[in-house]
């Protein structure tokens, strides 16, 4: 899962990014409205965290721009503006959730996970795929009822496949959602991660669709 974090306060942005990465999210930071608008329109993100008071272009304008360009990614507004007028305005501009600073990082993580899950079309928090289950609300994987230990990269790949279970996820799409913008992924590294995951949950669970990508299957 890749998060676009739009926050002009560098200290807070670092703090949030660190906390999100600890929860296995890939995090790209935009420090101003222009960068945010550009990134949001050109790259693939599972969810965006958007501050409203931004340099150059304010958050509501950025959000309206994304929606006008047809970008459907879920957006959580994270702002110090706690007036109801600001909230109404934010939701009218196309926000999906609104969190007021100061906030608890657990709440932010929980809300981001819920946004991603709902955007993928899952009403229930637990996604099952054969013996594998993914609690999209806690981020925990279980195999045959036992916790499954995964690395951050493995988690990103597997959660992405789990949220789209039964659907082919394109290789490029997967790459974009696993690696942060500045990373330069080795073209083989995705295969390495897939290989490790297959060893953990069974090779037959992750199907390679040649020329397209990968698919998580029930059996």
């Amino acid at each position: 899962m890749r998060v676009l974090l739009v926050e002009d306060d560098a200290a807070l942005a670092d703090s949030i990014a660190r906390a999100l990465r600890a929860e296995h999210f890939a995090v790209d930071i935009a420090a101003n409205g222009e960068d945010a608008a550009h990134l949001g329109e050109t790259e693939a993100f599972d969810v965006a965290v958007l501050d409203l008071g931004l340099p150059r272009v304010d958050g509501v304008t950025v959000l309206s721009g994304w929606r006008l360009a047809g970008r459907q990614l879920p957006v959580l507004i994270l702002t110090a503006r706690d007036g109801w007028s600001d909230k109404v305005q934010g939701f009218k501009a196309g926000a999906d959730d609104y969190l007021v600073k100061p906030f608890r990082i657990e709440e932010l993580v929980m809300r981001l996970r819920a946004l991603v899950r709902r955007a993928a079309g899952h009403a229930a928090s637990v996604i099952r795929c054969g013996p594998l289950s993914f609690d999209a609300q806690t981020g925990q994987f279980e195999l045959d009822g036992l916790p499954l230990r995964v690395t951050a990269f493995e988690w990103r790949v597997l959660s992405c496949l789990a949220l789209r279970k039964g659907i082919v996820v394109e290789r490029l799409d997967l790459l974009e959602r696993v690696y942060e913008g500045e990373a330069d992924p080795d073209s083989n590294s995705l295969e390495v991660i897939i290989g490790r995951l297959r060893r953990k949950i069974g090779a037959e669970r992750i199907e390679t669709v040649r020329g397209l990508g990968y698919r998580l299957v029930e059996a």
Partner: protein, 457 residues
Amino acid sequence: MRLLPRSLAGRLVMTALGATALALGFAALSIGHVLGRFVMHGLDERLDAQIQVVARAVGSDGTLHASRAVDVPPFDTSGSGWAWELIAPTGKLRSNSLGPADLPLPVGWEAPPPPGRRDRPDDPWRIRPLDGVDAAGRGVHGRVATIPTARGNAFVVAVGPRAIVDRPLRAATGPLLLSLALLAVFLVLALLVQLRIGLKPLRRLGTMVAEVRAGDRRMIEIAEPTELLPLVCELNTMIETNEQALARARGHVANLAHGLKTPLATLRLELAGRSGAGDAALVAFVDRMQRQIRHHLGRARAAEIGTKGVSVLLLPVLDGLAATMVKIHSDREIRWEIAVQPDVAVRCDPQDLDELLGNILDNAWRHARSRVRISAGRDGAAVLIMIADDGPGMTGAEIDTALLKGRRLDEAGGGHGFGLPISRELSELHGGSLDLRREGSDLGGVEALVRLPGGAH
């Protein structure tokens, strides 16, 4: 000692009354004088005519011809006050009214007037006035003519009773003073009317300034009189400057609060990453700071005064807020309905209205089991908004606590939710009220009743 009264009306009345009194006094004096001269002129003509008649008795050589001095009434009547005397170098003639006695003449009567502008070619006798008393002590007015003869000057003196002049003057004084008094009364009345009309714009200005202060009016709108326009212009500029200063100050408060929130959020995140007894205390401090900031931001908003007179349609506001609640409480499945006519409007600042209703709706969404119902309708000049939920309800004590009745916001201890007290403050600020009714509605939970002044749309 103050010469001028403190009030404008007092000053105008005083100066106008002073000027009127002076003018009327002057008018009385000058009219009296003119009248006196007019009457005196009549007497003089009569005396001069008699002098003409008597003067014929004086020959050019100074001889007297008594038969030529015709004695006509009232000069021939004794005690009439009318008399004449001809004093020539060769003798004297006098009117019958005098009898044998001489006309009592004041000292220096025969002195000719000093030559001057009174000398006229048609007045060879240089007739001049003479005032004195007759033998009976009555005031008389006379005329003296100097007739040159070969033997020296002859004088003709004719006198008439002064009373003949004074009587018509006295008779005229009454009506004159009466009409002047009437004129004075009329002028005073006109002055009062003038004051009323003239000072009316000032009173209107005062009322408008009061309305601006109360927040019922934004600017002073007076187009006349032109004398007031510079003042109105200055006042409006001052109001605008005030508004801007207020907005700036509010902006600074908001910026300060928002500026503090972000580092606090960072601090909170940093502390959350650690665990220790000291850190827990720090977290408590951070939470307290956050509460303070929220509280003072809320106060700053609630203290806003200004665009109170704006009329806002209720339905779009409620729609926007309900949609917001659905998103914010997306984890809760709440069925909601809004029963509000589209033309119902309230008089409230739009942002305050969002804040006021947002807090209440948030509360309803938080506590409802499955349903929230919003309805509103006109109630006389006011609009009553009812927000009911099907939650567990509240006790009377809980309601008092929730609304912080009888307490100031900053006295409140901890806990979350300054929302409802802020809503209460906002509703009261805009001339309305907020009440919570437990088990007030058929939904079973709490029903919030918001009353706000109705707007026009």
